[in-house]
Symmetry: C2
Subunit: 158 residues, 2 copies
C-alpha cells in the first residue's frame, strides 16, 4: 500500500502532476476495495471520508491510476466502466454468469500463447486483449431455468 502510493507519487512527478490529499485518499480507498468497482461506487465510499470530494475528481483520479499502472479498466459490456487493482496483480480474464452476473477471474496460459501466435500470424504486434466468457455458473445450473435476471447482452451464441 505504501509501495503503491510511492508508485503513484513517482508517476505524478514524472508527469509534472501533483500529489494532493484528494488523490491520496482516493488511492487509499481504492486499494482497500477488492473486486471490480465503478467510479460511482468509489465516489460514494470516498465521500464517507471526505464529504467535500467531487465526483469529477474521482473520475479523473481513476484515469490517472490507470495510466500509472495501479488500476485497470474492466468493461463487462453493460455501459459502465469498472476498475480493478493492477499492481502486483497477475493478468486475468473473466467469466460472467448471464443469470446472476457472478464473475470469476480466470487465466489460461494456453489461450494467452495462442493469442500471441494468432496476432503474429496476421502480422500484428500484440499489445493487449480483452476476453470475456459468458455462461451459466454452477449455482445457476442447479436451480434450473430461473429466467429471472437474464442479462440480454448480445454475447450469447458467439
Amino acid at each position: 500500500m505504501t509501495e503503491e502510493k510511492d508508485l503513484f507519487a513517482e508517476y505524478l512527478s514524472r508527469n509534472n502532476l501533483r500529489m494532493t490529499p484528494q488523490r491520496g485518499l482516493i488511492l487509499d480507498v481504492f486499494l482497500r476495495t477488492e473486486g471490480h468497482i465503478t467510479s460511482e461506487e468509489l465516489y460514494s465510499r470516498v465521500k464517507r471520508k471526505d464529504r467535500s470530494i467531487g465526483q469529477a475528481t474521482v473520475y479523473r483520479t481513476l484515469k490517472l491510476l490507470s495510466d500509472a499502472g495501479l488500476a485497470r479498466e474492466v468493461d463487462f459490456g453493460d455501459g459502465i466502466l469498472r476498475y480493478e487493482h493492477d499492481y502486483a496483480h497477475e493478468h486475468h480474464d473473466h467469466i460472467i454468469c448471464e443469470r446472476c452476473n457472478r464473475q470469476i477471474e480466470v487465466i489460461d496460459e494456453g489461450i494467452e500463447r495462442l493469442q500471441e501466435r494468432l496476432a503474429k500470424r496476421h502480422g500484428f504486434h500484440l499489445t493487449g486483449h480483452r476476453m470475456y466468457l459468458y455462461g451459466i455458473c454452477p449455482e445457476c445450473m442447479k436451480r434450473k431455468d430461473r429466467k429471472g435476471s437474464l442479462r440480454k447482452t448480445g454475447h450469447t451464441s458467439g
Copy 2:
C-alpha cells in the same frame, strides 16, 4: 438475401410482430453493407432511399435483426455499437490496430477449444464470448511511431 428476408419474416410472425416496408428496407440495406456498421451509418444509408425514415426505427430494427440471428452486435469498446452480418457467417473474433483502427477478422480453433475447456474447468456452461485483440498492424509497424491517432483505450498491456 431472400433467405434472410424469409428468416426475418418468420421470426417476426413467430413473435407476433409485423413485417413492414421500413423493416424490409432496413434489412435490405444492411445486407448490402459489408463490414461493421453503426446504427448511425445504416440510418444515413437507409435515408437515401427513404427520406422519411426515423432513426429510432433503425435502432429498433437492428435490435430485432440481432434477436433474429441476422445481425450480431460488435463492441470494439469505443462506446459505439456496431453490427455485422450473422447469418451464414462463421463466428470470428477481431484484431484491432491501435494506430489506424484497422480491424481484421480472425478465428483460432485452438483458442475456441481452450475457452470451452476453461469454462468447464470452473463449472460454467459456456454460452458465448467476446475476444478482441489489440495491437499494431503491419502497415503501421513500417511507418514507425506515428503517434497520431492513438486510441487510448485501456486494453494495452493486457
